[in-house]
């Protein structure tokens, strides 16, 4: 935060800047406000009022109905996201450690090959991956989705840790090796404790990626194993019966809340992950 001291006195141009920034804030917030307002209205209220009209009566019936139809899938998403995030982060940390501190012939080439995974359009692996999941008996299971997310999240998680460990002086590791510390001792005792910010960045990045995934969910899961994004899409895009926009919006809020909460609580790491993934990836 910039300090208050040093602010220029208000001139017309500064007023215009502030007005523009605040207007932009309003524009960015409108969809969220509309979603919240709509989710607490009754269907009649929605038809009678407009997007930004205050609800006549606040009702949570939309939220209750939404939870009834997507609640189970919410837990699917938890079951997919938690293990996939933990495993891919751990593997990424180990990979990054080897690729920066224990280089061997070919390890740089491997890093280059892995890096391309950050850009891979997943359409190009969907078919073979679904055949493989079928062969493994993991088609339409949350375990299968965990596996897929671990595999295709590896590029980013390795990148995060490798870029961090590269910045740590070699001397530190060399000294530890002279003292007789082994591969895992150095990793566990020296590097991991230093990596807390990177671990946070990686966890948050993977959490938003996997929680928000739709493509893998819709291709590799069906029925009971679907993640919440797929369930939300099914709910919103079914055309049977009268549309209940309050339920749609409540379900969308339920699907979006976990990542929003993480963003509000750990925005610093969220941003760092985005820019690291962007600038370096």
């Amino acid at each position: 935060m910039t300090s208050v001291v040093g602010h220029k006195p208000f001139s017309p141009s500064r007023l215009a800047i502030h007005a523009t920034l605040l207007l932009a804030c309003a524009v960015y917030l409108v969809p969220l406000v509309v979603m919240l307002l709509t989710s607490f209205k009754t269907p009649d209220d929605i038809r009678g009022g407009n997007l930004l009209s205050w609800p006549d009566v606040f009702t949570v019936i939309g939220w209750a109905k939404a939870w009834d139809s997507v609640g189970g899938f919410f837990w699917n998403s938890v079951k997919i996201t938690v293990p996939a995030v933990v495993i891919s982060t751990l593997l990424g940390a180990l990979n990054g450690y080897v690729l920066s501190m224990w280089r061997f012939r070919g390890s740089q080439l491997f890093f280059g090959l892995l890096l391309f995974g950050c850009f891979l359009p997943f359409q190009v692996i969907l078919l073979p991956a679904s055949f493989t999941l079928g062969k493994l008996g993991l088609a339409n299971t949350t375990t299968g989705l965990v596996l897929v997310h671990v595999v295709y999240g590896l590029a980013f998680t390795t990148l995060f840790f490798r870029n961090f460990y590269v910045s740590i002086p070699d001397a530190l590791v060399r000294a530890a090796r002279l003292d007789g510390a082994g591969f895992f001792t150095i990793f566990g005792r020296i590097l991991l404790p230093m990596s807390v910010p990177t671990i946070m960045v990686c966890l948050i990045w993977q959490f938003t990626q996997i929680w928000n995934d739709f493509l893998f969910g819709v291709v590799f899961a069906s029925g009971d194993s679907q993640p919440i994004t797929v369930a939300l899409n099914n709910l919103v895009n079914t055309s049977t019966g009268a549309k209940e926009y309050n339920v749609d919006m409540a379900a969308a809020m339920i699907a979006g809340l976990p990542t929003l909460v993480v963003y509000v609580l750990a925005g610093k790491y969220f941003l760092r992950g985005l820019t690291a993934g962007a600038v370096k990836g």
Binding site: T2, V4, H7, K8, R14, I17, L21, C25, Y28, P31, V34, M35, T38, R47, N50, L51, L52, L94, N95, W102, L113, L114, L115, F116, L120, P121, F122, Q123, V124, I125, L126, L127, P128, A129, F131, V151, Y152, L154, F184, N212, F214, L215, T229, L232, V236, N237, D248, M249, A252, A255, G256, T259, L260, Y263, V264, G267, L271, L274, A278, V279
Partner: protein, 302 residues
């Protein structure tokens, strides 16, 4: 005695220490070779077969690619990608740069404002699409809001207009991603030496011209990164179309990723879907290979 014992114990341990890094990396190497490159090759093979609902390995040469060439829906999807991608990238860049420059003027509550601009990035494209589908709803959405607010005769039905539905996707995608561009540029601006700006001000240059002539040109790498990321988001866009329009009306808002999914997994045109996936990979490669090449060259110069 004790020293020899240590020696005898240490050497197999040393050998293990040498192998351990390779052992630890081995699973990931396998994953990358098989799951990335092996699978790409597999898809490449499928694109030369007549696979329909099930994979078949009957070679048909370039027939699937020729079918794509003759497929009107593929052309609509490709043209939409150009329109959607072009507008999405251009508008996100302009908004992102403008907001970043304005936010860089020592604004009170900068942290709060930044948070507001960036929060849509935390939401999935499915949630984004659901929200904007409702906001742009012809009849109940913005359409009605502006009429209620006194703009009689206002109509907004782009969502069901085959000629304009692509612009709806652009609106939603810009809302979701422009804050991210702002964050990238703000980080870049914070790295610019303030003394340059002060020196130019002493020379009598106005602030807007300093930004246009000096500051922004120095952020060329940030432009490049932002462009890459946005292009990548555009090419992969699938969720947003699925949630907002499902490709409709008809297939007016189809994008290549949607085309690929529909043909491969619901229409039993696996060969055609594989061919379209390969073309998507080609598009991504055309963008990132020059980028990676210049990145690696720069690294070597360091």
């Amino acid at each position: 005695m004790s020293s020899t014992a240590v020696f005898a114990k240490a050497s197999p341990l040393d050998a293990l220490q040498n192998w351990l890094p390779k052992l630890v990396l081995a699973p990931s190497m396998l994953i990358v070779l098989v799951g990335f490159y092996g699978y790409i090759f597999w898809t490449f093979l499928l694109s030369f077969t007549n696979s329909r609902f099930m994979p078949s390995y009957k070679w048909v040469g370039f027939q699937q690619y020729l079918r794509l060439w003759d497929n009107d829906r593929w052309w609509v999807a490709s043209k939409n990608l150009l329109v959607f991608g072009g507008l999405f990238i251009a508008i996100s860049l302009v908004i992102g740069v403008v907001l970043a420059v304005l936010l860089d003027q020592r604004i009170r509550r900068e942290g709060f404002i930044r948070t507001v601009y960036l929060y849509p990035m935390a939401l999935s494209m499915i949630v984004t699409g659901t929200a904007w589908k409702w906001l742009l709803n012809p009849g109940l959405g913005l359409d009605k809001l502006l009429r209620d607010w006194g703009w009689d005769g206002f109509r907004f039905d782009w969502l069901v207009d085959p000629d304009r539905v692509v612009y709806c996707l652009v609106i939603a995608a810009v809302w979701q991603s422009s804050g991210f561009v702002m964050a990238l540029f703000l980080a870049g601006l914070r790295g610019v030496d303030p003394s340059i700006i002060r020196a130019a001000q002493v020379d009598g240059a106005s602030l807007p011209s300093i930004y246009l002539r000096i500051v922004l040109p120095s952020l060329r790498p940030v432009f490049f990164s932002a462009l890459m990321i946005l292009a990548h988001i555009a090419i992969k866009s699938f969720d947003l179309v699925a949630a907002m329009t499902a490709g409709g009306p008809g297939y007016a808002s189809d994008l290549p990723a949607m085309f690929m999914y529909a043909h491969t997994f619901t229409r039993g045109q696996m060969g055609l879907g594989a061919a379209s996936a390969m073309l998507m990979l080609g598009a991504v490669l055309a963008i990132i290979v020059p980028y990676l090449y210049s990145e690696l060259r720069n690294k070597r110069h360091d």
